[in-house]
């Protein structure tokens, strides 16, 4: 394998680096300095950012090689993120004197090695050659941009806003369940094990059935048709739900 030619461009040329990497660096510093009883939430935040950062570079490396399934990518990202979290906790990976670009470059390097390891040790998977679907915008071709039709954009955004209002009326847990299933299309089992849900999978299905009916009734009560929703309505809803969740967390 021509390893030297496999360098994925990382936004590390400047010391600034990507913002998520700067946030990761700061969270690692906070985690190291935090007293024991405050570590758990920080560990989760650090791990999630490690996972996301690794996945970002894993995807890029695997895309070039075409050897890993999306499930493989998430598994490898999880394993490496736990390894790095251990290193952060033990002080074996010290970020306090690193700039964000270095942090991102390190993750890119870890991801590259992980892909090579996977290729070496998973010949069967490599033979399968399941290609990771490439996000269209990563190809650098701007021709496929698909913005909303201007004639219907306002109407559709109003529909999205109405739907978001209907969802906001739900209880917090029901709201999260609805979003994860309807918007993110996650399976009931995953939703059931989500830390903000923690229910039996069958219970999730029961709640979903009720909540879907409530949301649909609310939406139609406003005189709107589900078919008028834009495909990216979820962005509006996600943004509002994130804000709502933040305010709920802030309110004791």
């Amino acid at each position: 394998m021509a390893l030297d030619s496999d360098v994925i461009p990382v936004d590390s040329a400047s010391e600034a680096g990507p913002r998520w990497a700067a946030r990761l660096r700061d969270l690692c510093i906070d985690l190291r300095a935090a007293p024991d009883h405050e570590r758990s939430p920080l560990e989760e935040q650090v791990w999630l950012l490690l996972h996301a950062g690794l996945l970002r570079y894993l995807r890029a490396h695997a895309l070039r090689r075409g050897i890993m399934t999306p499930e493989d990518l998430e598994d490898v990202a999880s394993e490496r993120a736990f390894d790095l979290l251990q290193r952060v906790i033990s002080g074996r990976w010290e970020t306090s004197h690193r700039h964000a670009g270095e942090v991102a470059a390190f993750l890119a390097s870890v991801a590259r090695n992980a892909v090579i390891d996977h290729a070496r040790h998973s010949i069967r998977v490599a033979r399968r050659r399941v290609r990771v679907p490439a996000p269209s915008h990563d190809s650098g071709a701007p021709a496929s941009i698909a913005f909303d039709d201007p004639a219907h954009a306002v109407e559709r955004r109003e529909a999205a806003s109405t739907l978001a209002s209907c969802v906001e009326r739900l209880a917090p847990r029901a709201r999260r369940i609805w979003f994860m299933r309807v918007m993110l299309e996650l399976p009931s089992g995953t939703i059931a094990d989500h830390p903000e849900v923690r229910l039996n999978a069958k219970h999730v299905d029961v709640i979903l059935q009720r909540v879907r009916r409530e949301v649909r009734d609310c939406f139609e009560h406003q005189g709107l048709d589900v078919r008028t929703l834009p495909r990216n309505a979820f962005v509006e809803i996600w943004d509002r739900l994130v804000s709502l969740a933040d305010s709920e967390r802030a309110t004791p």
Binding site: E44, L48, S78, I89, A146, A153, G189, D193, H194
Partner: protein, 278 residues
């Protein structure tokens, strides 16, 4: 690169880093608002953002399944497969309060076990002279297979296991002897003798309670002479070694008064026992 104008503006899509910043970045920053405004009008970026959010939520589930030990209500095989086989991070020096409580509980349990072990050791040490005496004076049973002729004329040595066990006993490999002779089935004619050899080996190894339980399975009538006398002798010795001095005293007295060869051994043992007590 995030286009500064949204809506119908034509421009490049959000990059991977910008999508990550949207999902994981600080809320309410200007760049986030710009990114969101772009995504709301861009179907491709909207789809990519949706993928990243779904990945984040799946990752949270993975993290909680692996680290926080969230309840496994799910039976979703694919998701479970994705979340499994992830090592838990090594606990930090201090650990969380839950981990600290667990460490305290483990330390308390270890301390309790240590105290119990000390008491057991002290008790075993307290009766050690008698146990040592019993093991030393228990003697050996006749070792060779040719002695294994049963009352009804059947050949106990027919069993390879029995012969091998007796041979192991004869050369002093008592553990091996016990292992082999314990395998002799209860319907085997050699079973009573095999059990007697097991008891003898156990007494010589200092396992008196275990030996007593093996002897209790036998009746003297099941054994030919001189084995029935050896049964009584081993019962007395194992009682002495186990600290049951009253039973040992009674049995030794009984053996002493009899006409058998073990009477001499019993008298000698009793003398030594009295010397140890003094």
């Amino acid at each position: 690169v995030i286009p500064r104008r949204t809506g119908e503006a034509r421009g490049p899509h959000l990059g991977e880093d910008e999508l990550l910043d949207l999902v994981h970045g600080e809320p309410d920053t200007e760049s986030r608002q710009r990114g969101l405004a772009h995504v709301k009008g861009c179907t491709a970026c909207s789809a990519s953002l949706k993928e990243r959010i779904a990945e984040q939520e799946r990752a949270r589930v993975t993290f909680h399944r692996a680290v926080r030990g969230s309840a496994h209500h799910s039976s979703d095989g694919a998701e479970s497969a994705a979340g499994k086989q992830i090592p838990r991070p090594a606990p930090s020096a201090g650990g969380t309060p839950r981990e600290a409580a667990m460490r305290r509980a483990i330390l308390a349990a270890a301390a309790t076990l240590l105290v119990i072990a000390s008491i057991v050791l002290w008790r075993s040490t307290a009766r050690d002279p008698l146990a040592t005496l019993a093991a030393a004076r228990s003697g050996s049973l006749p070792p060779h297979p040719e002695f294994l002729t049963l009352r009804h004329g059947s050949e106990a040595g027919a069993s390879v296991v029995t012969r091998s066990g007796i041979e192991a006993y004869a050369r002093g490999d008592l553990k091996r002897a016990v292992d082999l002779l314990e395998r002799v089935p209860s319907n085997d004619p050699a079973f009573p003798l095999a059990r007697l050899y097991v008891a003898s080996a156990l007494v010589r190894r200092g396992q008196f309670e275990h030996a007593a339980s093996r002897l209790a399975e036998l009746h003297e009538d099941d054994l030919p002479e001189p084995w029935s006398d050896e049964h009584a002798w081993l019962s007395a010795v194992s009682s002495l070694g186990a600290g049951d001095t009253a039973r040992a005293d009674s049995m030794l007295h009984e053996i002493e008064t009899g006409p058998t060869a073990t009477a001499t051994r019993a008298r000698a043992l009793r003398r030594e026992w009295r010397a140890v007590q003094r």
